[in-house]
């Protein structure tokens, strides 16, 4: 397993966001977490990426690294990239500067020096160019991020996360609010990343995409893992049918 959660619980006031969740995400596979709103999906990603500390339980990465000992930025350096439900580009920077700001190196390194480094190290520059092509942003590099559509901002988030060359990518609602053309770009990127051996964990309500793209599906409700397995197996679950009825069968 690339990521394993053992007995993880997290409470926000009177709400039990995660209730003794034990789950494992396979290496080099696309795992999809589905479930009704408020079922704890984003909290689970936040626990893995370090933006939320669980009350109890263990989170292990890459065969036994105890993630809870690492701050969020160190988890990213370990190889866990992520995007957010609401895209978070640096709005005042250009598309290219956003991507270059993510280049690894000096902890304080961002666009200006990163740009220079990328120019001097062909492999870095090549990598950035490839990522921009993969996310269909290569013709918009000079645009300010603030001028991008919602869907393009999501793609920019994805591009920026890929610059880290993560072993594992956590995608929070990568298709929500994204038009069909940009959704196809995201799907294509995910398929290519899976072929490249990356582990993808994504949250999505786009059930058609989930069922066709995911290798494993995890159904959550009220902070608990209800069931998991192959897409067709999970599809047979009653809660899944209740939650996504009309979408799944469309």
């Amino acid at each position: 397993m690339m990521i394993t959660l053992n007995g993880v619980a997290k409470r926000f006031g009177g709400v039990l966001a995660l209730n003794d969740v034990t789950v494992g995400f396979e290496r080099s596979a696309v795992s999809a977490i589905v479930g009704p709103n408020g079922s704890g999906k984003t909290t689970l990603l936040n626990v893995v990426s370090g933006f939320c500390r669980p009350d109890r339980g263990k989170v292990l990465f890459d065969g036994g690294v105890d993630l809870l000992r690492y701050a969020p930025y160190r988890r990213a350096r370990l190889g866990i990239g992520r995007t957010f439900q609401e895209p978070r580009p640096f709005l005042e920077l250009s598309v290219l500067d956003n991507v270059l700001a993510a280049l690894p190196g000096d902890a304080d390194q961002t666009a200006e020096t990163a740009n220079a480094d990328a120019d001097h190290v062909p492999s870095l520059r090549h990598g950035v160019d490839g990522i921009l092509r993969l996310t269909d942003l290569d013709s918009e590099t000079a645009k300010p991020a603030a001028s991008l559509s919602f869907g393009k901002r999501k793609l920019l988030d994805l591009a920026r996360a890929l610059v880290l060359n993560p072993m594992c990518l956590l995608l929070d609602e990568p298709f929500a609010g994204v038009d069909p053309r940009n959704s196809r770009t995201v799907i294509s990127a995910i398929e290519r990343l899976r072929c490249a051996g990356k582990t993808i964990v994504m949250i999505s309500h786009e059930i058609d995409i989930v069922l066709s793209l995911a290798d494993q599906v995890f159904l959550m409700d009220e902070g608990r893992l209800v069931t998991s397995g192959l897409p067709d197996d999970v599809r047979a679950n009653r809660l899944f049918a209740d939650t996504f009825m009309g979408t799944a069968n469309a």
Binding site: Y73, A102, A107
Partner: protein
């Protein structure tokens, strides 16, 4: 002529102070009301070691700047890790008030409410800056050096990193960057610069007392920064000049008593500046901006 030189000396000292605040608060979007504390630490530390230990000015100034930087580092260790937005603003205000109280109550070191006097003017080996114009020259060189350092930092990868943190700290961290370390470094450097302005003040006026470290001093430097435009390096210098010179010009025009006791020129200027800034201030993307931190989310 001495009056003009004196005024310009104060402009230079306050411009250095304003640069320290505009660098930290402008780049990071974290409003600090505690920089007068670093100013005070620089002033007192330098004054104490030069008066009580007889250290030379360069050594005393180095100790003053180093003490302020250390204070910034120690304050930042818990505060930058735990607090954001309005809570950060309140703690920095409290920090400055605690230091002012300590300066008043630790009278065996600080001279109590009367402060320390007889502090020697700045000097370098073989050079004593004893006249107004020589002090102005010295302060102008220090201001130019600080200006170049701050402008260099703003344009460097360090400044870009702070800018990214201001824009979205969570996104910055998710890219494997250590935002806390960058913020701590920024506060330490900024505190060092504020400490330098305190050193300049103490050795120029030859006096430092708790009355120089009150909330009014915080408001004064905040006005300088805001008048010039938060985050603007040139603006900090211009703001220091405007906020220092305008009340003096009005006082000379109207008479000191009329200006300060009838029209309350300083307070009116501060109030007017704050109203205009709050009404019209925009962030760098052109949106209405808050005075407190953008990173409070």
């Amino acid at each position: 002529m001495d009056y003009l030189f004196s005024l310009l000396n104060y402009v230079a000292i306050y411009a250095v102070f304003a640069l320290s605040l505009t660098f930290f608060s402008g780049e990071l979007g974290l409003l600090s009301l505690g920089h007068v504390g670093f100013f005070g630490i620089g002033a007192y530390a330098s004054a104490i070691v030069s008066l009580k230990l007889g250290l030379s000015f360069p050594l005393a100034a180095g100790i003053g700047v180093g003490a302020a930087a250390l204070a910034g580092f120690l304050l930042g260790l818990p505060v930058l890790r735990l607090l954001k937005g309005d809570y950060f603003v309140l703690v920095t205000l409290g920090f400055a008030e605690i230091l002012r109280t300590l300066a008043r109550d630790l009278s065996s070191f600080t001279g109590g409410a009367y402060g320390l006097s007889g502090i020697r003017h700045a000097s370098l080996p073989g050079v004593y800056f004893g006249t107004q114009w020589s002090q102005l020259l010295f302060h102008a060189v220090l201001l130019a050096a600080v200006f170049l350092v701050v402008r260099g930092m703003v344009r460097s990868s360090f400044g870009r990193a702070l800018n990214c943190i201001r824009l979205d700290e969570i996104a910055y961290v998710s890219l494997g960057k250590n935002a806390f370390a960058a913020k701590l470094r920024a506060l330490s450097v900024s505190a060092a610069i504020a400490g330098l302005s305190g050193v300049m003040f103490a050795h120029y006026t030859s006096v430092i007392s708790p009355s120089s470290l009150g909330v009014d001093a915080t408001v004064l430097v905040l006005c300088m920064v805001l008048v010039g435009g938060l985050g603007s390096v040139w603006g900090a210098v211009a703001g220091a000049a405007i906020v220092t010179v305008v009340p003096e010009v009005l006082a000379r025009t109207l008479g000191t008593v009329v200006a300060n006791q009838v029209f309350f020129v300083n307070q009116m200027l501060f109030g007017l500046a704050l109203i205009l800034i709050i009404r019209f201030r925009r962030d760098r993307a052109g949106r209405p901006a808050r005075l407190a931190a953008v990173s409070s989310s």
